[in-house]
Subunit: 318 residues, 2 copies
Amino acid sequence: MAGPPRKTKVPDSARAITADLVAVLVAVTDGEPKIMTIANAAALPSGPFEFKHRSLQSGLRAWVEAQTGHPLGYVEQLYTFADRGRTGDGPAPHSVSISYLGLTREDQLAERAEAHWSGWYDYFPWEDHRAGPPALLTKLLMPRLRAWAKSAPSPTLQRERWQRVAITFGFEDREWNEELILQRYELLFEAALIPEAVRESGNAATLVPGRAMTADHRRILATGIARLRAKIKYRPVVFELMPAEFTLLQLQRSVEALAGRLVHKQNFRRLMEQQQLVEETGAIATETVGRPAKLFRFRHAVLAERAVAGTKLPLSRT
Amino acid sequence: MAGPPRKTKVPDSARAITADLVAVLVAVTDGEPKIMTIANAAALPSGPFEFKHRSLQSGLRAWVEAQTGHPLGYVEQLYTFADRGRTGDGPAPHSVSISYLGLTREDQLAERAEAHWSGWYDYFPWEDHRAGPPALLTKLLMPRLRAWAKSAPSPTLQRERWQRVAITFGFEDREWNEELILQRYELLFEAALIPEAVRESGNAATLVPGRAMTADHRRILATGIARLRAKIKYRPVVFELMPAEFTLLQLQRSVEALAGRLVHKQNFRRLMEQQQLVEETGAIATETVGRPAKLFRFRHAVLAERAVAGTKLPLSRT
DNA sequence: TTAGCTTATGCTCAGGATAAGTATAAGCCA
DNA sequence: TGGCTTATACTTATCCTGAGCATAAGCTAA
């Protein structure tokens, strides 16, 4: 950025770089959030940047639809990663990765594809609070992060580190904030508790559970989850992950799957109805335990009626 | 994105592109929002991508600090633009623009620089609602957008167009939503009411007021403003734009400058105080009209204490 | 047949947040 | 001193939110 404004000519050879696209493709099946992975679940789908398509988005859409046989409902750009040394070691990789978030349905993956759907909590087991705070949070992460904080050179720095940890992880009676997933990942990375952070230096004994990924793909995934967890609260995007018809409980389970925490059932229904986000189809769910539920569909009309909000996560304490 | 996963080798020559950085640098002076411009206020500062620095952010910081002599408080990536033909005409420009939002203070710009500070409402005169909805909104934009809607091929499409217009511009008793600035710009662009949209095809008579910019810089600016208008509501970033000490009214005026609308004074103070975002310095403002106000400073401590919110824009109807 | 389990759905209630307004204080200047 | 301006304290009505109670409507096993 130390250069002159764009108009000035710079030899292209001096500026040539390469670019990749990386996609975080999300689906929710049976109340479990999934992401599309390749390379034996160790990488996000990615490919070289191509100018064939009119825009990055349309290129991504075409590619995903070919892979999954299902239209890609919602697409949004996430972040462009270009930091030196992000792939681990060595000199500056003259390359950027442009990442996207896409929402779709699992359904059938083309068989030929080497792609799979993996549960996203495999990669972030400490992020699933639907059954209360996971045991590994206090049993494993807390003591190791405390040790890391203690290892700071000065008492002041030690206190600062621990305060950062307590805020981002909700320790010491602080609230758990599901949107801080990226900050939590980066903190664990900084504390060298993540395989990706200690690639060659070994020391695997003190690492933290959770499946690793190649390069910085797990960071990109965390970025995508964070964006989605924030987005469902102010934009009605959950519906992109639902079948055409669904019960309110199924909808609620999807929201909970993404947020990683439970919501208050009655209040959730109240919100959906008073915002007129859904309408009854007239049909009733079959093959269920308990009283059969009415089926609903998303009211696409709201999008035209007003600038519409999402799901405000009516939280549940229990 | 139609290619194989990253591990497969692709000759670099086939993928080589170039990248630019574009910066939306914001300051607020005397209650007016400004952006840094070059090229006679017709372009945003931009330059070739360089890997000299550890990250894009640090490169941007260094560059801005050299230009303004003031540290760049807050930096955030905005968007990466890579759509074919975005610069207007011709074939695919094998180039991407990575844009950033930065918050700073105007102060002294290094004299040698060709950079200036321009009021951002020069580029979007319809976005300033601090003195009520601007006249040109109903006098000019409304009829032209209505004509554009009417020009759609079918009655259904005409209705859809007009509904879109009404929602994004707050016509017909709908609420004005200051965050929709990018959607408004894109609508005007689509309706060919923006000089950038009709580069060669002329027809300047029916255009809409507001200073144009080169390439897609005005779109990038709109993206930055939209992001900032959203951000001030949930993150305490306004303070990056303030001097070390300020009165609550000055703070309020800055928020209003960014949002383009007025807030309720008493409620604004209540929010600031009950969130403990500011603390009294003990000093009193001098050289003012009316009763002198206490001076406040930002409580940096809140950032460490908790995941902190911003300013919820206690709106004012008048 | 019915008790007991499950999920669906309707309704109430208290506390807190919000929008708006009233009232008073404290400077200055004509 | 009256009138103008801005600062600051308080009040009020309304809406939103979190939480819980109660009842409905299916099923299965005793």
